[in-house]
Symmetry: C3
Subunit: 156 residues, 3 copies
Amino acid sequence: MKTDHHLELQALIADASAHLDNEAYQDWLDLFHDACVYRIVPQENIQQGLPGSVMLCETKKALSDRIVSLLKANTYNPHTSRHVTGPPRIVATEGDRIEAETNYALYQTNVDGASHLFAVGCYRDRIGRFDHQFKFVERLVVLDTFSIPTLLARPV
Amino acid sequence: MKTDHHLELQALIADASAHLDNEAYQDWLDLFHDACVYRIVPQENIQQGLPGSVMLCETKKALSDRIVSLLKANTYNPHTSRHVTGPPRIVATEGDRIEAETNYALYQTNVDGASHLFAVGCYRDRIGRFDHQFKFVERLVVLDTFSIPTLLARPV
Amino acid sequence: MKTDHHLELQALIADASAHLDNEAYQDWLDLFHDACVYRIVPQENIQQGLPGSVMLCETKKALSDRIVSLLKANTYNPHTSRHVTGPPRIVATEGDRIEAETNYALYQTNVDGASHLFAVGCYRDRIGRFDHQFKFVERLVVLDTFSIPTLLARPV
């Protein structure tokens, strides 16, 4: 894989974190290809081969609807989020298709300004190149922390 | 942006973390340009457009004084610090000037060897190139964790 | 240091995290050179120049034995692990030999799906190039969190 592609891939993953942290959901959606899948699956289910997801959007439209619902309809404890990710790890490449895995820690801060660890896990991404830009074709969010004390309202 | 510049930028940000963790404050100061600003601002103030800072040093001399005060005069709970940062995200470039944003988690470990999350947030850096070296022209530390249970004695 | 070598180094460190998180211990062992040292040392001992280690394997065979013991004999609280590392920081190079330091946060998730911070610290790695591949010659795991409430059963 070319070095500049590696840095672009790193930028894609960093952008995904930043857009969620900044609540720039439209920018976050723009990182996904039109035909995309977004899933949040507990680590436990993956280990046992169980299909259940905590969140499953099988089209970009479904993902977009989820965001609209989040912004307009859902009620949840107000907080800010902050993602800290490790280096992306390229696990497979085929032409312009890349599979990458990136560990994440997600922190939330409540309105009183207290921060806590919300969830940890791993992004398993399938990324394609469209019009000279990397986009997510599939983002599988492996959730180690499957017992979450509050509502999983937002994407991870 | 050239690839080697990207890696140098990443090194600058990693050095800033390491020098603070190693309490190598003079090395940390050397990462800043002579005309520099260092500010720690709660996320809440940024969202509401309020100017208040938790720490504000508008010259390198002020930043240096702060460090002297930290080393010679301040009394605070003894601890070690450890920064874990995500990938730097280039948000703007103009010639050799770069604006980058980097998420951080800062942990502290007390004298009993117990570690805890101290703060999370984002570095918003303005970086310039002087004598073939990147230096911080401005480091704005956005502090999600604005309710800090102990003294914010050291730089973040 | 060449850019592609830098990315390979980053991949080595990311692989080390991933293999431990995936409990792929043989893959993890394969990242070490035949003549290698693996040590976990509390930050406190390093600061005071004390030689004591929490874990010390002075050959790859010793490290391999440790893994066998972990898999076949040890009893410990079941959990999954997740490493989040910052960018590797090159602190010295000499030919193909590299010294790098990488901050880490290690999280554990118990069988109830609750995650917590287990330890933070810094990898101080000495890395060599053998048959066109980077391998660990020495991995010194500095452990800020030297008071660990449960057994340190696995490598960090």
